[in-house]
Amino acid sequence: MAGKGGVGKTTVVAALAVVAARSGLSVLIAEVEGKSGLSKAFGVNDLEYEEIVLSKGISARTLTPDAALSEWLQGNGLGRIARRLNASGILEIVATAVPGMKDILVLGKIKGLEQSKAFDLILVDAPAAGHAVSFLTSPLGLLEAVGVGPIKTQASDVVAMLSDPSRAQVMLVTTPEETPVREAIETAFALEDRVGVALGPIIVNGIYTDNLTITSENELGNTDLFDHTALQESISLDAQVSGYPLSTAEISDIAAAISFRHARSRVQSHQADELSKSLPIPQLRLPYLFDGEIGFPQIERLADALSAQIESLPDPLIGEPAGKNE
C-alpha cells in the first residue's frame, strides 16, 4: 500500500486488514517506515520487530533494515561480524555504497514471510509515494550494481515476487485533491514501468459524501448552493413548515456549512474524475470521517465501506488463499 503522506494510508491498511480478517484470512501488517499511528488506532503500544496480535486474525510488526540485516547476517553464517559491522560504521558505508541495500533487506524479509505461508495476506504499509517507487525499484537497481553474492540472490527473489501478480500487488491510496491525485498517477506509472508490479484498485480516501437529499427532489434541489440568500430562504422555509423554528444565526451557519461542504465535494469529484481519466483502474472510495479521530470503530466503518465495494469488483482481490503483498 503506497500513497503520499497525509492521505490516511495507515488507516486504509488497517481497514483492509479488517476486511480480510472478517473473511477468515490471517493478516500481517508490516510497517516499514517508523511509527505510523497504526498501533494507536488499535489501542496498543508502538510496534516492534517482534510480531504482535492487533485483533482477531490481524498481526502486525515493524520491519527495520537494521533488525532485518542482523537477522539476515545470522541466517547467512555471518552473525559474528554483525555487531562489529555496526560499531565500526562500516555498515553505513556499505549501505551507502549499495543504494537500496536497506530496502532490499526489508523486502527480502517480506519475501521470507510470504514464502513461510504463515499468513494468508501480508499488507505492507509502504513509504510515502515518492519513496515507494525507490523502495520497490531497489531490487532491480541492485541486480545491476552487484555482480555476485547472497545480496544478489535476495534481490532476484524479490524481483520474482514483485513481478508475479498472484504474489504481490500495489494498492495506491490517495485523497481526492490535486497534489495527491497527481502524485498517485505519477507513482502508478513509475511502478508499472520501472518495477513491473501489478496495480490493485486505487483507494480514494476522505470523500465528503454529499448524501444530502437537498441536492434533489425539493426546494433546495433548485437552489444554488453557493447562493447564501437563496439557501437561507430554503432552510427557513423547511424550518417553518416543520414547526421547528431556527434562529437567524443558525440558519446562516447551516447555509455556510452546506456551501462549504458542497464546494469541497465539487473539488473532490472533479479530482476523482481526473484520476479515473488518467488511471483506468478500479477505484474504491472511502468517506471522510467527521469524527476527527481514528480509532477501531472508525476503522470498522471504513472496512464496511470497503467490503461493499470489493464485492462488486470484477475480480475478487481479497479472499484468495495465496499469500499476497500489497
Partner: protein
Amino acid sequence: MNKADLGTSAEDQPEITFASLLAESRVIICAGSGGVGKTTTAAALAIQAARSGKRSIVVTIDPAKRLADALGLPGLAPDPVIIDDHLWMRSDDSTSGQLSAMMLDPKATFDALVARYADGVEQSERILANSFYRSISSALGGTQEYMAMEKLHELSECGDYDLIVVDTPPSRNALDFLDAPERLLRLLNNRVFRVITAPARTGFRAAGVAVQTLVRAISRVIGTEVVDDIVAFFRAFEGMEEGFRERAMSVRALIAESTTQFVLITSPRRDAVEEAEYFAERIGDHGYRVSGLIVNRVHPMFGSEHGDTLRSRAAALRGLPATETAPASARDRLSQYLDVLADFQSVGSRERHNLDGVQLRLGRGAAVAFVPFLARDVHSIEALDEIAALIFVTPT
C-alpha cells in the same frame, strides 16, 4: 529534553508576528510532515516577501514538481529562475520586489563542492567518476537535505536575495540536514577505511587481520568490485576532509544566525501535530528555535453549538411524527442540515483539541497562524495570495 521545556529559552523574547518574521529574516526554513501544504506555504511566504519589496527566493528539494505547480510554472531549473512580475505582482506592491524559485539538484551541488575542495581537476575528476561517490549523494541519509543547506549557504553568500525560503522534504527524516554534516564527516573519516587506505603503498596487508576479515566478509556479500570502489573513493578523497569540515561549520553558523528562522507547518490532524512537536524538539536539541507555526487545512466551524447536541436535536426531529402541516420530508431535510452542522462542529472541536497548548509547547512567543481548509485547490497564484493573506492577518 521534554516537551514542556520547549521554548522556555524564548520566554523573555518579544512576541513574533509573521510580518516581523518576514521583515527581519534572511533565511526561513520550513519543516513539517508530508501532506500539510509545506511547499505551498513556503511559496506563499516568498511571494509575500517579494510583494513587500524584498528580493526573495523559494528553494525546494522536493523531487515532485509541486512548487512549480503552485507557481503555475511548467517546471523548475536547477538554477534559480526569476518568476515573471506579472504573475505575482499587484498594483499596490512595492516595485523593488523580485521573486525567484529553484528546485535543488543535490548531485550538482555536491559535485560543485568536490570541485571546490579538490586539489586540482585530476582529483575532482577521479572522485566524480567513482561510483561510491555517486551513491553518497543519493543514498547517504540526509545528504540531500544537507546539500539544500549547502545551496542555502551559496545563495546567502551571493547576495542576490534578501530572503531565502527553504522547503524541506516531506519525510520523517526531514530534519536530517541538522545531523548530516556530522554524518558525512564521520563517513569520510571512518577509522577502518582510513586504516585500509592511508598506507596506500602496502594496501590491505597493513590493515591487520581483523580488518582484513571484515573486508573479506563484506566482499562476499556485496562483491569485490563494490569494495574496490569504496577503497578507491577513500584514496581519492584524501586531503579534502578539512575543506568539507570548514564548509560544514560555516553552514551551521548560517543556520545559527539570528536572521535564520524555523517555521513549522502542520495540519490539525493528531499525527501531524505530534510530528510537528517532534520536529520542534529536534530543532530545540540542536540549539535553534521555532519562530513560527502555520496550521494548514483547519476545518471551519459554524456557530458554537456542540456537535453532540446538534446530533441529538437532529435525531429528535427525525423521530417526530409527520403531520399535515409538518411533512416528513421537510423534517428530514432539517435534521440533515443539523447533521451537516454537527459534522463540522465535531471535526472542528477535535482539531482544536489537537492544537490545544501546541503554541506553548512549540515555542513561547512564536508566531502562529491558522489557514482554514480552502474550498478550492491551491495551485494558483490567487490561492497563494489567499493563503498569504490568512497567514499575515491572523492575530497571534
